[in-house]
């Protein structure tokens, strides 16, 4: 029996758990926990350690499927998996959510994080959620990746559809395993499908319209964040739950400042954020995009990188 291993990685909600469930012959081993950050806007549970599944390719070949957690704060698991569990993997599948503001930023980030791992292994970029947002298309990906110096395979998949995810497996081991009966395999895995028409529900407990989580609720779901203020393109307040008058006033002045700088100093580049610290104070931060801005109050001990990641995700998903 030949055993192959493959590692799935990618940003939160890119479809890693779903793809593994679509392919696995066994009940997958997952380590889901209640979402405790801004990802609550897209799903209720998230992987905190790893996903594992197995696919019997033929009588003589088997594929072990491993998935990393998406959140950067569980990065230590990436290291554990790369150095131990999947050190002998065939390849890395990088799932890229096409609805992200800048999917190539994600690609650059993960390629950098897994650089040593992919040096001697196959890298496959699997683009997901293209049913929600078709652009960038395949040609654009190829063109951009070439410009980035990445000569790799790009496959558009629907993680909920086993036949679609099988394209990755074919790409990875198809050349070496000639005895795989692909049509039969596809038929066998059809029961794993979580496509809406097949089962009536998605994999990740989808957030229905009636239970939509607002940006402020999602912000408050993040441990350490104590208040948020959401502003529109005109920098007028859309919603706010900052209770402290002092914080509210300071955030307001920070937003006014950034708005003025955006107009006067745009030639220096985009203003990403403005952060205000104090030894005994809550940290106040302002994150700006063209269409909206977000002000956050957070516990003084919460790392600014965590706050930033949450802000990026909150702004990302509030545009959709």
């Amino acid at each position: 029996m030949t055993d192959y291993k493959v590692l799935f990685t990618g940003s939160v909600c890119s479809g890693k758990t779903t793809a593994i469930r679509s392919l696995s012959d066994i009940e997958t081993v997952d380590t889901d926990a209640r979402v405790s950050d801004s990802a609550i806007r897209r799903k209720r549970k998230t992987t905190i350690a790893m996903d594992y599944g197995v696919l019997d390719l033929s009588d003589s070949a088997r594929l072990h499927l491993y998935g990393t957690p998406g959140q950067e704060r569980f990065k230590f698991m990436w290291e554990v998996m790369m150095s131990d569990l999947v050190h002998d993997a065939e390849g890395l599948v990088l799932l890229v959510d096409n609805t992200r503001n800048d999917p190539f930023k994600d690609i650059r980030f993960y390629v950098e994080e897994f650089r040593d791992f992919i040096v001697r292994r196959r890298l496959i970029i699997a683009v997901t959620h293209s049913d929600e947002k078709a652009d960038p298309d395949h040609d654009y990906y190829m063109q951009e990746l070439k410009a980035m110096g990445l000569f790799t395979t790009v496959i558009f998949i629907d993680a909920r559809d086993p036949s679609s995810v099988l394209k990755i497996v074919k790409e990875l081991v198809g050349q070496r395993e000639k005895d795989i009966a692909w049509p039969e395999l596809e038929q066998r895995l059809a029961v794993n499908s979580t496509m809406p028409q097949a089962s009536g529900e998605g994999d990740s407990p989808a957030i229905g319209v009636n239970e939509e989580v607002t940006l402020l609720e999602a912000a408050m779901n993040t441990r350490g964040i104590t208040g948020a203020i959401h502003l529109g393109a005109d920098r007028k307040v859309l919603s706010s739950n900052v209770s402290s008058k002092q914080n509210k006033e300071l955030l307001r002045s920070m937003i006014n400042l950034v708005t003025a700088l955006e107009a006067k100093a745009s030639f220096l580049g985009h203003i990403d954020d403005l952060v205000l610290y104090g030894p005994q104070q809550e940290t106040l931060s302002v994150f700006v995009e063209e269409e909206q801005a977000l002000g956050l109050c957070s516990h003084k001990d919460l790392s600014i990188n965590v706050v930033k990641q949450q802000a990026v995700d909150l702004l990302q998903w509030s545009r959709r």
Partner: protein, 116 residues
């Protein structure tokens, strides 16, 4: 003060620095090429710390990420701010740790400046 700025500027941590007295730059190591950042820092930190004082807050450190750079402002005392220019990729903790390391030199220079 110029000597002090030479100590504050550190490769890969602080590219340039200056001291602000209200809206005025008293001493600076900003190069001509980075002068626009100095102007932005002057406006940003004088405004921010004016508001901090107005609202009786104890915030004493501000960071602005603009383009590829980060401007960090450390409030030394009312109206007096140390500004540091870094690459955006530089860890804020590194900048903060470096400023803490040279804190005693800054304090000494401030006393000398007052006595002069």
């Amino acid at each position: 003060m110029n000597e002090l700025l030479g100590t504050i500027d550190k490769p890969n941590v602080v590219e340039s620095s200056c001291f602000l007295e209200g809206k005025e730059v008293t001493t600076s190591s900003f190069t001509k090429a980075n002068r626009h950042y100095e102007t932005v820092a002057r406006q940003t930190f004088s405004y921010i710390f004016l508001n901090v004082g107005k609202h009786k807050s104890k915030h004493n450190e501000a960071h602005l990420e603009i383009g590829d750079k980060r401007l960090s402002g450390f409030l030394l005392k009312a109206n007096r701010v140390l500004v540091c220019l870094s690459e955006k990729e530089t860890n804020i903790s590194d900048v903060r740790a470096h400023i803490q390391q040279v804190q005693h030199l800054i304090a000494k220079a401030e006393v000398e400046r007052m006595l002069a």
